[in-house]
């Protein structure tokens, strides 16, 4: 049976197939396990299709610059079949809710594709639905060279915006009584996580978001670092292999960076602004917004750049300004593309009109990313990075965090030493 919605690529598609019976030279045997198959793009297969594959099981190859075998093994896949002969035995045998979610995801992504030109359309599919297969390679590279790839990966930022929208909508509809809006948001978070394909960053954000919402419901205090650690524990507990997933690592480091550094950068930035424009309130307020924006980005970049260099062999030098200019467009993009996608289900004409507004914001994002990418020296390509500098960097970073968080204790310790 097809175990997940197939991953569509340019001219082929990857289908994750869970087998329950294998026949070798006319002898059948019941088995269990997953196998990846590469098939041509058409006819299309869907989650829940029961297929009979006729082909040769192969061990995934190991490329010089990419450990494909290891990459698949982390997903619990140990064999691959290239272009098998396929016979469809049955359709729609998956779990009903999943089937519904997947078909909703597909309809939404189709309505985006119909309403928007390219590459805005595929960009919208990536940002809103986590469907990244249609994004042209050149654009993907532009995003990673300018250090803005995190805008494409659905993460806490996206979940936050979606939840914010739903919460304000829920409060508007039901008021704050009975905490209905909290239940609504909880359901919405997890539906959105399912809709976007349950990738590690989304699950992380969904767990943290749920914890915050529960805290609000119980009237307890929220602690970001506790929520982060809890999310990590739950995810690793359920699927230990996830520790090796790059998106898991990036997501947690970025969040940890935000939690540990952002407050300090923000205070420093604001202090600087106060010293500069102290008396002029309006200018100071605007300048504060700008420094806050830079503080967020800087906090995340400090935490992730070595890992990005290690995995993608690129260090972006324009990540800070590129993110600063593209980030404001993101909420607008998420809101407008969500409207386009849903309108497309019922009234394609309306979706087209809304699409023009979404097109404007998406084009702005493209302009910023491609503009920064075109600058000379926007990024440095690094060759293979050994492990130890990465480890050393993170150990040092942890010590610094520990030091600034416990300044008084440390100072106290040293003064005690001195007193003796």
């Amino acid at each position: 049976m097809v175990a997940e919605e197939p991953d569509l690529r340019g001219s082929y598609c990857l289908v994750t197939f869970s087998a329950n019976e294998v026949t070798i030279s006319n002898e059948s045997e019941e088995v269990s396990g997953t196998v990846l198959t590469r098939v041509s793009r058409y006819p299309a297969y869907h989650y829940g299709d029961v297929l009979k594959l006729n082909g040769e099981l192969e061990t995934p190859p190991q490329f010089e610059d990419f450990d494909y075998k290891g990459y698949l093994a982390h997903q619990g896949i140990y064999s691959i079949i290239y272009y098998p002969k396929i016979e469809i035995l049955d359709r729609g045998k998956g779990s009903k809710p999943l089937q519904w979610i997947y078909s909703l995801r597909e309809s939404l992504s189709v309505s985006l594709a119909r309403a928007l030109p390219e590459p805005q359309g595929s960009l919208a599919q990536g940002i809103l639905l986590g469907v990244r297969s249609n994004i042209p390679d050149s654009l993907n590279q532009a995003f990673s060279r300018t250090g803005t790839a995190h805008l494409l990966a659905i993460s806490g930022l996206h979940v936050g915006i979606v939840i914010g929208m739903l919460l304000s909508f829920g409060i508007l509809l039901f008021g704050r009584r009975h905490y209905i809006y909290i239940w609504l948001a909880l359901v919405a978070i997890w539906l959105y996580a399912l809709l976007t394909g349950m990738r590690p960053p989304v699950i992380r954000a969904a767990i943290m978001g749920s914890l915050f919402l529960t805290a609000e419901y119980l009237g307890r205090q929220r602690s970001a670092i506790t929520a982060l650690a809890f999310a990590a524990a739950v995810m690793v507990g359920i699927q230990p292999q996830i520790l090796w997933s790059v998106s898991f690592q990036l997501s947690f480091l970025a969040m940890a960076g935000l939690i540990s550094f952002y407050p300090y950068f923000q205070t420093w930035g604001r202090r600087g602004i106060a010293a500069l424009f102290g008396a002029r309130e309006k200018i100071a307020a605007a300048a504060n917004m700008i420094t806050d924006g830079f503080a967020v980005t800087l906090a995340a970049i400090i935490a992730v750049w070595p890992l990005v260099a290690y995995n993608f062999n690129v260090v972006s030098l324009v990540g800070l300004p590129a993110t600063f200019f593209s980030l404001p467009a993101l909420p607008a993009i998420i809101v407008t593309t969500a409207l386009v996608a849903f309108a497309g289900l019922f009234a394609p004409i309306v979706a087209q009109f809304l699409g023009w507004i979404a097109w404007l914001f998406l084009s702005y994002l493209l302009l910023v990313v491609q503009g920064f990418d075109a600058l000379p020296l926007s990024s440095i390509e690094v060759s293979t990075v050994p492990d130890w500098p990465i480890w050393a960097y993170y150990v040092a970073l942890t010590i610094i965090i520990g030091f600034i968080n416990h300044k008084e204790q440390v100072a106290g310790f040293f003064s005690k030493l001195a007193l003796r």
Binding site: Y42, P117, E118, Q120, G121
Partner: protein, 296 residues
């Protein structure tokens, strides 16, 4: 009642009007700058190893083939079409092989296509089946192309269908190739001959019928393969410019050096354009003059 509205209006913070007005201004500005002109545009789109040709006249579009890739054709179309235009008036599939039709499947999914034209030769492939199924599901008008048909674009622009003949080719070196849709687009003094993937057999048949082949621009048949573009055919068409739609690296060795040499000898070094070298090649004409715009 009216008083209430006035009161509400006066309470409405005026600065909230700024973002919507800004958005509207930007949209109008983008729309005006993307407005099509009144000239005829013929673009040989860079879609890799395959064919894809877009004809634009005002807001009318005719797409001839879609190339071998589902993504490139959409990127190219988005670049050429204004952002609000989601309709393609006519889609022509010159033949059902993957390097012509794969992109068209995605275009059917994304654009509103009013009519399709194709040779309707027997051919079994999953991609062609998918294309046929989509055309049927969407209720798009489906016509078979045969020599003698004419498409009128207005403003004195017309397209004649020269191939396939009413009795399709049978038993040639490749019936699918030879039954490809050959079109001659003409406006005033300028004309284009679009020859799909036809081979020598179809070329000689066209010469024998004394079809109106003489054209300013020739789309070289079959990606410059040596199966086509015979010296005789070239002499009859007598083009000033030739375009080869071909991918930079392809397993077929297209275009054949022999054909490229033949073309360059006849037309001159700088009159032969290749999509693999020049990227998308756009011709613009008012019926009198012809301009060429290349990507690289």
């Amino acid at each position: 009642m009216a008083g209430n509205t006035v009161k509400l209006w006066s309470r409405f913070p005026k600065k909230w009007l700024i973002p919507p007005l800004l958005i509207a201004a930007f949209l109008v500005w983008s729309a005006v700058s993307a407005m099509p002109d009144d000239k005829l545009h013929i673009s040989f789109l860079d879609v890799g190893q395959g064919d894809a040709i877009l004809i634009q006249q005002g807001s009318q579009q005719i797409l001839i083939d879609g190339g071998p890739d589902t993504q490139k054709i959409n990127l190219e179309l988005s670049e050429k079409l204004p952002f609000w235009d989601r309709t393609i008036e006519l889609m022509i599939s010159t033949q059902p092989q993957a390097d012509h039709i794969t992109g068209l499947v995605e275009v059917l999914n994304r654009y509103e296509v009013k009519q399709v034209l194709e040779p309707g030769v027997p051919y079994v492939s999953s991609i062609y089946q998918e294309w046929l199924k989509l055309v049927e599901d969407k209720g798009i008008k489906h016509k078979l192309a045969r020599a003698g048909q004419e498409i009128d674009l207005g403003n004195g622009i017309k397209i004649e269908v020269l191939n396939p003949p009413t009795d399709l080719f049978e038993g040639t070196s490749s019936d699918v190739d030879n039954n490809g849709v050959v079109l001659r687009l003409s406006t005033g003094k300028i004309s284009f001959l679009l020859t799909a993937d036809i081979r020598r057999e179809a070329e000689f048949e066209l010469i024998g019928q004394r079809a109106n082949l003489r054209s300013t621009v020739l789309k070289v048949a079959h990606h410059g393969s040596k199966t086509s573009t015979s010296a005789q055919f070239l002499a009859v068409v007598d083009p000033e410019i030739a375009v080869i739609s071909v991918g930079a690296t392809n397993p077929f060795g297209h275009p054949s050096p022999e054909v490229v040499e033949r073309l360059k000898e006849r037309l001159g070094e700088d009159k032969v354009y290749l999509t693999s070298q020049n990227g998308t090649i756009e011709f613009i004409t008012d019926g009198e003059s012809l301009w060429v715009r290349i990507e690289r």
